[in-house]
């Protein structure tokens, strides 16, 4: 039996979704002429500003194109479900937002994305567009600490893109934008847990198996296996398990400030996320770390997967300024 979805045709799902997105957000978004998978901000890209192009596979909505708009990303290149976009739509995004000040490519660190974005960057160079790339590698569960560069980028993208988008919007130099983007990544730590699978629109079969009393700690946002299968625990235990790893790496000092993101992988409802957030607050209070701002909800999903992730973004003065910088995107507003 196929999984239930409200779709027409699995192979058309991404393009039909994009049509629906443009229909809903005409004031924020448009596609590049002739390149429907290249979505750009109506407001934002402008002379002298470093262009910010983000992107990745579909199925993570509101990532990535929900974060396209003034003050955040200038464009997003959209791939098939869980698949990097090919170089062409990425290149079209770069062209559309390039104004000579350089273009930043930012995306999660996945082999497929790296290959496609790198190809696009080479093609952009031929068009005299200077591209630099900052990969997000916030998923603590995906490689040991000394191999941070091998880690996946997951929900922490939210803070990393936000910082970079603010730097670009504040008309900082290409070097500065790149530096701040990299720093934002270094300051961002995410751990996830998955409870039940999603299914791809084309196959409509669960993308992994999991027992009714199990959870998978550290599972990736495409259902990639994580660190460990365990029996489902309580919200506090799960949150602690995730925070222990995050805090172990982030090693905050008393008096440090963080921003918090408690993110649903899809079908885990706000009630559960806020119960987790309660525990996050308790734990941070205990160690004297203050919360500058929190986001709780669907920010980087895996279709209808059940599960959640916690991200801490350690702030200094500069990153706080970037976080507080206003942005007005299709599916997200802040500042």
């Amino acid at each position: 039996m196929q999984t239930k979805k409200i779709i027409n045709d699995g192979n058309r799902a991404v393009d039909e979704m994009l049509e629906g997105i443009l229909a809903a957000h005409p004031r924020h978004l448009k596609s590049v002429d002739g390149s429907p998978r290249s979505i750009i901000a109506r407001d934002g890209p402008r002379q002298g500003k470093v262009g910010l192009v983000i992107g990745g596979g579909s199925g993570h909505e509101p990532s990535f194109l929900g974060f396209v708009g003034k003050g955040l990303a200038d464009a997003a290149a959209i791939g098939n479900v869980f698949a990097s976009p090919p170089p062409d739509p990425i290149l079209e995004c770069a062209k559309a937002v390039s104004s000579g000040a350089g273009v930043l490519f930012m995306y999660g660190n996945y082999a497929g994305d790296v290959m496609n974005f790198d190809m696009a960057a080479e093609m952009a160079a031929m068009d005299d567009i200077e591209v630099r790339t900052v990969l997000s590698t916030d998923d603590v569960a995906s490689a040991p600490r000394d191999q941070r560069h091998k880690r996946r980028g997951v929900a922490g993208n939210f803070f990393i893109f936000k910082a970079a988008g603010a730097a670009c919007d504040r008309m900082l130099s290409f070097d500065e934008c790149e530096r701040i983007a990299g720093k934002a990544n270094d300051h961002t730590f995410t751990m996830g847990v998955a409870l039940s699978p999603c299914s791809l629109p084309q196959t409509r079969r669960p993308n992994f198996e999991i027992e009714p009393d199990e959870m998978e700690i550290g599972m990736g946002i495409h259902g990639e296996p994580g660190i460990a299968r365990e029996k489902l625990k309580t919200a506090d235990e799960i949150t602690d398990e995730m925070l222990d790893r995050i805090l172990g790496e982030m090693a905050p000092a008393r008096g440090d400030k963080v921003a918090v993101l408690v993110n649903s992988l899809g079908s885990t409802p706000l009630m559960e996320l806020y119960i987790m957030n309660r525990r996050v607050k308790q734990r941070l209070d205990e160690i004297g770390v203050s919360i500058h701002a929190s986001w709780v909800g669907n920010y980087c999903t895996s279709l209808e997967m059940a599960g959640a992730s916690i991200t801490l973004h350690r702030l200094d003065g500069e990153l706080q300024t970037m976080l507080d910088h206003p942005c007005d995107c299709a599916m997200f507003r802040a500042g």
Binding site: N80, S84, P86, A141, R205
Partner: protein
């Protein structure tokens, strides 16, 4: 045996067919150690390639043009990891047969070997890292050795298909260090790499289409 563009068009149709038939198995394999979409990517990519080359005027297009068309359409339909890998394979294949209008046995094997080399150059994977290279590299080598030992195209591709199969089998005993599965460490043991599995299907479909 001489391969002309019509035969290459038929080859893409055969691979696309084989990919559709194999799609769900490949997704299931990818579900175990990756993100469960490999069959979709391969079906999409080769369907797009099939359609693009079928739309060409085969009288006017040479093998290089045809393979480049296939590469571009595969890439644009897919993205993902498979897109750049197979697109590069096809573009390198295209470059390897530049200037020819038909391909003899040696040229066809050269095309095949260029494809494997393209995948390796693009993905930078070494044999033993549990990727499609573990099927493609031994297949390319076996085809080359067979041809060098005086065998014809059929026997050379037969050797390639056998080697691909053995190579894919061997990925079960490997720990992934490239691609999505590389974060699993030891948990990737015991499972066949989906890209290696699909390579077997691609190569077998090529063999049949080019030699029957």
């Amino acid at each position: 045996m001489t391969i002309d563009t019509a035969r290459l068009v038929a080859m893409f149709a055969a691979i696309a067919n084989a990919m559709s038939a194999d799609r769900d198995r490949l997704c299931a394999l990818d579900g175990v150690i990756g993100d469960a979409d490999h069959g979709i990517a391969m079906e999409l990519g080769f369907s797009a390639a099939r359609d693009a080359v079928a739309a060409l005027d085969t009288a006017a297009a040479d093998p290089t043009a045809l393979l480049n068309t296939a590469a571009k359409s595969f890439l644009n339909a897919v993205g993902a990891s498979s897109g750049p890998l197979y697109a590069t394979a096809l573009m390198r294949g295209a470059a390897a047969v530049k200037g020819k209008t038909t391909l003899d046995d040696a040229e066809t094997v050269a095309l095949f070997q260029a494809m494997a080399k393209g995948i390796q150059d693009r993905g930078k994977a070494e044999p033993g890292e549990k990727t499609m290279i573990d099927a493609w590299a031994p297949a390319a080598q076996a085809a080359g050795e067979a041809l060098a030992s005086g065998k014809g195209l059929a026997a050379s591709l037969e050797a390639a298909a056998q080697a691909a199969k053995a190579g894919a089998e061997a990925t079960k005993a490997m720990i992934a260090t490239k691609g999505r599965a590389s974060r699993l460490g030891e948990r990737s043991l015991g499972h066949m790499d989906p890209g290696a599995a699909s390579a077997v299907t691609v190569i077998e479909a090529m063999r049949v289409a080019l030699t029957s």
